[in-house]
Amino acid sequence: MMKRDRLWKTGALLALGLVATGCGTAAAPSGGQTQTAGASRAAASSQPVTITFWYGVGTTLSQDIQQMVQAFNQTHPGIKVVATYQGSYSGGGEEQQKLLAAIKAGDPPTIAQIEVHAMPVFAASGQLLDLTSLMQSSSVDKPSNFLPGILVSTQYQGRYYAVPFNRSVPVLYYNKTLFAKAHIASPPATWAQLAADAKKLTQGSGSNKIYGFEPLVDWWPWEYAVESGGGSILSPDLKRATFDEPPALSILETEQSLVKQGYAKVETGPNYWDLMTQDFISGKVAMDIDSIGSAGKVTKGVGNQFQWGTALLPRGKSLAVPPGGGDLAIFKDATPAQQKAAWTFIQWWTAPKQSVQWSTETGYLPVQKADLNDPTYQAYLQKHPQYRTAIEELRYEHPSPESPAYLAVLQPVQQALQGIFDEGKPVAATMQQAAQAADQNLG
């Protein structure tokens, strides 16, 4: 009997010990374990330095990346880049989830594509390599080489932690054919004009109804709406949500009233974004606010059915354009050799030759000043004038709040937006609730 009791007790103690060690590593991924991981990785690959690259853009974009990585590997015999699609890189997408798990376990990739709004949280985790001095001494990626505005999302507390990769901005898409029919000469420059135009453009009824406008029920254009309306998302010390104050709500209120009056259409549900783009393509709406990244899809979808164009987002009190897309960051965990190889890869990718190739293949923004003078890119702009708008908008780029808790702020905001547009909840009260929830997450 004694023996049996002791056995159970030993077992229980053992389990407790395991809990302590298991949680210990879970709670504090410290250097020791990860360094050995890095060392063994380096030792295993004797000749070329192998670096892993996680990204989160699928379909043809994924193929483009794989092709370019292959080209890099062929021209750089000392380095082998293994690039893997990890699911979506967007807010809460699989790639972000995996990065979180990998960081908690001290086993991240060498390079990762990071969504611009997630930059503060990853930078604050202390896991990203500070690229400031590397950039300043680089001939390719010197900060002054980049297009003004495009670096806003790559900084955290004054240091650079990433280099722009697949960047985009929201722009106003408008159906020129419908505009001409309604005798409107140019796209709206302000929200007052947009509201008036939307009324004129709305026609028909039932399933043949054409709506003047369609807002995108998403926190990305919401950032623009808050800042351009004259409000701010968070207080300057980043401790409090301020997006429920009246100026921050003005554009949302205009949008909601357009919806309520029947001049604007809304798409909801899990595919809301695609559905909105589709609405524009099928001519069901005359204007929408969509990513410049959708231009390729729109070009292909519209074909010769009608004329369309892009314009600067309409102004509220001012124009503040949020950054969009992703940047490339290097993880500290990598061995010095891997870090060096990763930096070589990033500089190669952002050099004008490659970045122009990437931009023209995908429709993402060029990142370097030199890209704009590149003959290939100029020819591309000739053919696709829509992208000019996006490049012009970069001048109005406004950084998103630098709070590591920002993603936890966007969550209640997205819910609130769905409430406002899907269910017609009152703007001010709904945003107040969201701000309270955000405050909790900030505190």
Partner: protein, 311 residues
């Protein structure tokens, strides 16, 4: 169950009458439990302990050193409206399953228990959805409920009604998830009930009929009573399954719109993986584990009372 068994074995051992033998049997037993226990320890119980530990710390991706926070994470959780919304959604799903799926399953079981032709085919068709991956059925039902071109809306339009944005509206999104879940699991519950029905001793039925009992009385006095354990088992499993609801939400709605389809398990995932708040996510995990442990305990207690002890 152990008492009787122990007595029997004790007798056998008394015959052999060596203490040694008993000890070695004990050791063999422990050794035989060891592999399974090791894996369950390492991958279920230790992580559960970790969840308790992590729930007491303020730990996010951007606080590299977790700070002890006592019960603050729990306080936070219980004061957050979205936690209660997730709990309410889960309970709503559970109630919905019990109101919709279980009675349907019971009816199907009674029908399948008749002497009819093609019984095996019906049984297979009704149980079939259970083996389909939830990711797949989530995908299929996203198509069925699609606003444009989805067959549900096509049918509505055919009847002259206007199409509904099933997954995009708070009122209908959770209902859609419920319908998928009922489709997936009703056949499973039907089989459970069928097994219960088939365990009804025919002697009892005959006795009741001899006593002049009609169809309904036989059902009420014999069948339903015999079904007790299966009914209880199904209710508990149903609760557990709804508390675990994740895949279908992940595929169909991502917890939206406006948090309308966020379930308990999805909430844990969202807190931890999308808001990067490990502490609060762990606190929610602990609450879920406690709820499930209570359900398990109930199930064990009840099965002891209802099920005839193995002899």
């Amino acid at each position: 169950m152990a008492k009787a068994a122990e007595a029997v074995i004790a007798q056998v051992e008394a015959k052999r009458s060596t203490r040694r033998r008993r000890m070695s049997l004990q050791m063999t037993g422990v050794a035989m439990m060891a592999p399974a226990l090791f894996f369950l320890m390492a991958f279920v119980f230790v992580p559960m302990g970790c969840a308790v530990y992590l729930s007491l710390y303020q730990s996010t991706l951007y606080t590299p050193k977790p700070v002890f926070a006592g019960l603050a994470n729990y306080a936070h959780l219980f004061s957050a409206p979205d936690f209660w919304q997730a709990a309410a959604n889960t309970v709503w799903l559970a109630v919905g399953m019990m109101a919709l799926s279980l009675p349907a399953a019971l009816l199907l079981a009674v029908l399948l228990n008749q002497r009819i032709r093609g019984r095996a085919v019906f049984r297979a068709a009704i149980f079939g959805p259970y083996v389909i991956p939830l990711v797949s059925s989530g995908l299929i039902f996203s198509l069925l409920f699609a606003t444009d071109g989805g067959p549900v809306n096509l049918a509505l339009q055919h009847l002259g009604l206007s199409p509904v944005n099933w997954l995009g509206q708070a009122r209908t999104a959770l209902l859609s998830v419920l319908i998928l879940t009922a489709w997936q699991f009703t056949g499973y519950y039907a089989i459970i009930f069928l097994a219960g029905l088939q365990s009804v001793p025919s002697s009892l039925v005959e006795a009741c009929q001899v006593d002049g009992g009609g169809r309904w009385q036989v059902f009420r006095h014999v069948t339903l009573r015999a079904l007790g354990p299966s009914l209880f088992f199904a209710v508990v499993i149903c609760l557990i399954q709804t508390f675990q609801t994740f895949d279908q939400v992940y595929v169909m709605t991502g917890g939206g719109p406006d948090g309308a389809t966020t379930t308990f398990a999805y909430y844990i995932f969202e807190k931890g993986f999308q808001a990067f708040n490990i502490g609060e996510s762990s606190a929610a995990s602990v609450v879920l584990i406690l709820v499930l442990a209570c359900l398990s305990y109930l199930q064990m207690r009840a099965s002891r009372r209802w099920v005839v002890e193995e002899s």
